[in-house]
């Protein structure tokens, strides 16, 4: 199971990096969110995918899955949510002000 997940994470990273290297700012934002998806899955996978009950006491289960990585992922998700929202608005503002969403065409020294 871990192997499949790791391959999936690898694919997410590949697509994310490919999108980040493209020209359009919107594709770059999508690339970063794919990267964060990848890394959250990685966090879940690396902690082990052994079967067990959901980490809620009262289920009277023999074993539980590791609760720590779930807390880490939850934290990381909201952080990347905030950052992605900011990035989208920034891309929108850039489109309004600079009149383009191509990262290549916004060079130059004009202020």
């Amino acid at each position: 199971m871990e192997l499949i997940m790791v391959v999936a994470v690898g694919i997410l990273f590949t697509i994310g990096v490919y999108l980040i290297l493209s020209k359009s700012l919107l594709r770059i934002v999508l690339g970063t969110s794919l990267l964060t998806h990848g890394v959250h899955l990685l966090l879940l996978t690396m902690a082990g995918l052994k079967t067990g009950a959901a980490p809620v006491l009262g289920g009277k289960a023999e074993t539980y899955v590791d609760p720590l990585p779930q807390a880490l992922i939850l934290t990381s998700i909201v952080i990347s949510f905030g950052v992605t929202a900011f990035f989208f608005v920034l891309a929108y503002r850039s489109y309004q002000t600079l009149g383009t969403d191509e990262i290549d065409s916004v060079k130059g020294e004009e202020r």
Partner: protein, 491 residues
Amino acid sequence: MSNLLALPILIPLCTAVILIFMKERVLLQRFISTVSAILNIMIALVLIYRIHSGGIQTLQMGGWAPPYGIVFVGDMFAALLVLTASVVSLGILIYSFRSIDAERERFYYYTFFHFLLVGVYGSFLTGDMFNLFVFFEVMLISSYALISLGGTKLQLRETSKYLLINIVSSTLFVAAVAYLYAAVGTLNMAHLSQRVAEAGQGGVLNVIAVLFLIVFSLKAGLFLFFWLPGSYSAPPSAIRALFGALLTKVGLYAIIRTFTLIFVNDPGLTHTWVAWMAAATMILGGLGAVAYNDIPRIFNYNVIISVGFVAFGLAAATPDALNGAVFYLLHDILAKGLMFVLGGIIITAAGTDQLKDMGGLIKRYPLIGWMFFTLALALVGIPPLSGFAGKVLITRGGLDAGMLTLSLIGLGSSFLVLYSLIKVFRLAFWGNEPEGNLPKIKLKSVSTVAAGLLVLVILMGIGADWVYSYVAQAGDVLAHPTLYIEAVIKE
């Protein structure tokens, strides 16, 4: 009361939250910000006094013993950095009163300022790897807001680059934390150090160590600094001063902490990487500092050079070099803050940031001119000033460790620092004033700030012996990680 350790984080946090509610009342915002900054300096002084007399302070959040809860650790290194950062931030805060325009001030400038400080102090004081990530994000998100605040074309363009680089490096940080958790099963730094030593720092852990090095280097501008000169040129000079003085230093602190506490068992690999990256940083930063003719870029490349120099101290890893790295880091936070403040004053006074359009400022602003000159000497490391002691210690440590090439590069980079800053001094202050109407500016409050910081730079050089007694205690913990581990994990 051991909650003292949380106060450097809580005070700016509460201040930032309070400031949200008084958007239009700028004067009140300034007053509260100043009071909070002064309070933080006093807290940091008390903290240092306690650590000096009573050893490393720890605070277990919620009373959960490490490694199960989050622990805050105040050793001398972290406390000295908190003190220096709070002194510099007070200076930059007062400088912002004059230099930041009213529109920016109204749109939560001081709130973001204090949230940034929360992130910085938190990163210095935390003892947990994932908590470090969170404080990094607190710091970075505030810096995104500050760098784009105002929304000029240049700022928008540079913010997207800065944002992208930091999202990628934060993603890598989480990936590195995931690998580390899989490899050793803990996230508390002291416990990590024990577990890594037990597991023997072999193949996998070395890969993770290098991944952490890449992550922190992206933040600190150690070799992976390609984003820095452009991004730091975009915002107004007060924000630039804040970034140049604090942000890269937090990354550098994380590198030093990681490679003196956790990944210490295979220095042949990790410290060699740091050494080569330091060498490349000093060379490339030096070339950049010499190449450009506008003040922001010259200063930004100077920030990069000093990052390389401190990393060289870490790579040498003798007790001398570690003490030197601590000393130089403290000096550098102060001096770089002052450098950007003076740079901002020069740019306002000349009405441009291009050196070729400047000249003759010494006639109108002699005080600023000679302050800048003294600062340039301090940054190069001329003996009575603050940069000297750190440079001597790091270079001596480097020579003791047999790193002749690196020591020579370090000394050579000092010449490039001298050349680039004296170029600024010569072109901006000497020569004839350019034709045309020059802006009249009031300098009283800003030059008081600059003078205050300069006095500290000079005192730190003259009283190097006295400062050293504290720095040595900080370097001691870096050289002997067991001191840190024993303070955190009490059997």
